[in-house]
Symmetry: C2
Subunit: 213 residues, 2 copies
């Protein structure tokens, strides 16, 4: 199928995927609308038929990517009640999504890392909208942490540090992971699931016990 | 003391600090040599007397910042033999340095995060040199992890995932920490020290035991 008889929705999807790859490879500023159009195999005019501006492409891409991420995490933990299992499953799913995406895009993508660079290209209103979607994931971890603490299964002095520790372990694996290395995506995901549970369920060390309220 | 009778070494130091702040605030590309000179209170010619190019400023700044970081970590864990104490102390020191720097510079600085953006402005040779210094810290964590595993104190399927999990927990606290929030730098540093130890010393869960060699 050539560009001219491709359905609109498919062209739109290709523009988003292609633009994202270019943004990650060259940076947003250095990627021109012309470059995106050429890589997709359409004219700039055709691209402008789908998107009013480069910023529109970036915004729709980011919103979509984070929404997909959140949806996959929601599905992964759906129906799991036990906070320990729920936290482990979330950490495994988060790590897997990060590492699979890295592998596909041949570039490091992360909710926070990539966004920090790309978000600066968005209007303040749109930045707020994207940050709200990122926050959904943070809140999802925190909810599990709070439930685990309330059930006496997790031991932490406060829910926030534990929430972000779990998030950071999963999120930034992508910065270090090498697909050509000895470990598979599954290896790293399982290890991170285990680390998340250990951080949550470990007993208070004497030093921290002494300071606990 | 005005700019004209300031000692050379002090001017050099001011150029590096000022440039770093501007790079973090506006990005490297958008910061001109003229902007750095103006902020320091010297002429561009005077700046060029100290540094041949903007890239030289960036390179010396990054090398110096990472060297200082590595030196502080080395001092913090010096003389501590027990792998558990050593890992906890490293994690506390790492987190403290990250969060204190964030606070000072009013910008997120991190070994890896900032470097990823700024490193792309360096020549390949210099990128390699900076990465070698970053690697010193990774190797320092890994050494503790390997020693702890050899002593039967740490339980992990492989040293790398544990090494990077500890690193990520400490390194990326800076992305989430809000100085105006309820937690102090010390609170977060102690929590991360505890999380690092829990990740290392926790017992293998049945799921992972089953797969262990």
């Amino acid at each position: 199928m050539n560009a001219s008889n491709r359905p609109d929705s498919e062209t739109r999807e290709m523009i988003l995927r292609t633009a994202a790859t270019l943004f990650f490879e060259r940076g947003y500023a250095k990627t021109k609308v012309m470059d995106i159009a050429r890589a997709v195999g359409i004219t700039p005019a055709a691209l402008y038929w789908h998107f009013a501006s480069k910023e529109d492409v970036l915004f729709e891409y980011l919103q979509g990517a984070i929404e997909t991420f959140n949806e996959r995490i929601r599905e992964a933990i759906e129906g799991i009640e036990d906070p320990v299992d729920r936290l482990r499953t979330l950490a495994i799913a988060h790590t897997t999504l990060q590492l699979e995406f890295r592998d596909q895009a041949q570039a490091v993508h992360s909710l926070t890392y990539a966004s920090a660079e790309l978000l600066s290209a968005l209007s303040p209103e749109r930045t707020t909208l994207v940050n709200q979607r990122i926050r959904v994931h943070v809140d999802r971890i925190k909810e599990i942490v709070v439930a685990g603490m309330a059930a006496g299964l997790f031991h932490a002095r406060d829910a926030s540090t534990l929430t972000f520790a779990v998030l950071n372990v999963c999120e930034y694996s992508a910065l270090w992971f090498r697909p050509e290395g000895a470990l598979s995506i599954r290896d790293v995901a399982l290890a991170n699931g285990e680390f998340a549970v250990r951080m949550a369920t470990g007993s208070m060390s004497p030093e921290q016990d002494g300071e606990a309220v």
